[in-house]
Symmetry: C2
Subunit: 306 residues, 2 copies
Amino acid sequence: MIGKLISSIKRTNAPIVVGLDPMMGFVPETMKKAAFAEYGETLEGAAEAIYRFNEKIVNATADLIPAVKPQIAMYEQFGVPGVMAFKRTVDLCKAKGLVVIGDVKRGDIGSTSLAYAAAHIGTVQVGTKTFAPFHEDFCTVNPYLGSDGINPFIDVCKAQKKGIFVLVKTSNPSSGEFQDRLIDGRPLYELVGEQVAAWGEQAMGDAYSYVGAVVGATYPEMGRVLRSLMPKSLILVPGYGAQGGKGKDLVPFFNEDGLGAIVNSSRGIIAAYRQDAYKSYGEANYADAARAAVLDMKQDIMEALG
Amino acid sequence: MIGKLISSIKRTNAPIVVGLDPMMGFVPETMKKAAFAEYGETLEGAAEAIYRFNEKIVNATADLIPAVKPQIAMYEQFGVPGVMAFKRTVDLCKAKGLVVIGDVKRGDIGSTSLAYAAAHIGTVQVGTKTFAPFHEDFCTVNPYLGSDGINPFIDVCKAQKKGIFVLVKTSNPSSGEFQDRLIDGRPLYELVGEQVAAWGEQAMGDAYSYVGAVVGATYPEMGRVLRSLMPKSLILVPGYGAQGGKGKDLVPFFNEDGLGAIVNSSRGIIAAYRQDAYKSYGEANYADAARAAVLDMKQDIMEALG
């Protein structure tokens, strides 16, 4: 799947992920009303509204991008119907040929991580049958528990040819509270980055490993160091756009061949119609605004990469 | 809810949590066959089997214990039907008067953590209606992202009078890989523990804070230090039983009043019938074996606490 992701990035010439993190406030009034008319003001109604919202975004952008990253929290907040909308979104995106990165940030002790890995990128056995429950291509993983929590994901990656992105340096303002603390003179995120490189060597694709890393666009200097510490890991870069990262900040995350990173934007794309630059599209044409925002993001990154 | 948990611990005289982490291998053959006969060898069939398995455990132990801790990964691995079984398990346990600790280990950047908090211990608004999606009383949270990732949970705790347990020192063998690394001469887990104490001061119940901590039974000496660093935080202690922790190892996690910690056992209780000590109950009477294992665990802990 790392091979498919790399080749899709090359084909679209766009190292871009659209973050499908729908909030009810983003969904146009008419679309919300239609879903509520059918399902009531219920969790089912909310889940249907965000699924329909996603559907138009995906249809409007799928030809431009290699991958999407649905953030499961935005679905989980609508309970079981929300989780069902997450699964429908994964299925929809895969049917469109997109690589799906489940942003689930799971991680636990070994036996539990194995269950999470099965849920998201693996399979479970039920009697004589085998199922792929959520069936993402990649998922994000939290490293706080160390190798025990990561190895079950890597085993599933190898068996299923899927991938993970391990949190190394996150994009949020307080990420430094623990991640930047110095251990033997070096920040924790560098140690995690080195461990990602070591984990990644166990599960290599052709040019890149099945084990990637998450490093926030908001920390470009740290991105430069981490890029060199994890030469075979694709870096998933959140924090572009709404969180403040710009095209020029992204250069350090890429290798000289223009590969090695994939940049996520969520609100900046899916709620583009609420920004001044795309306001003229109007709420009803939010998907066209999203397409325009993807094209602008692609240009911004490509110009920065030269 | 921290008040209810403390008073339930006092009432039952049992600082014990039963971990509802059902694996298909634990479910008796006849129970599995009955669920498959009704729902097929499907994710629905598996979810029904683990729910029925839980139901008998809960019925057999509810009068002895203050709380349960369903591990959501074990449900998530059966996809949407599995998540529905998680929700049904939460509802069942609450109807029995048990405090429910959702072991979900979520944590993300602020806006995303807010969605997770709403999902598990808070509420969401859908049009004019309000829903409590999964409706646990407590949930576990990962601290790797720092305060941004924790504060939304604390806000929800205060609004809903619910609680969280933040991972500090986990029970697994590789937990030291990052958690034990020295920062200014002190291990990372101590820094996280100090932060838990600081977060906890913002959200105090009567005697204990809404913000608790997870510290593994497998590391009693670290438990002693953390107990003193976080005097107002209840400590959720996994790792007893199947993971190797014994009653005598638990003493450092408690305060002198015999409170301050709640000890989880999962496989050691729910799959007790597979241990030599409880084999005589037989597979069909697994719930009676679980009850016996709870009584033995209670005695082991009470003897150790003196």
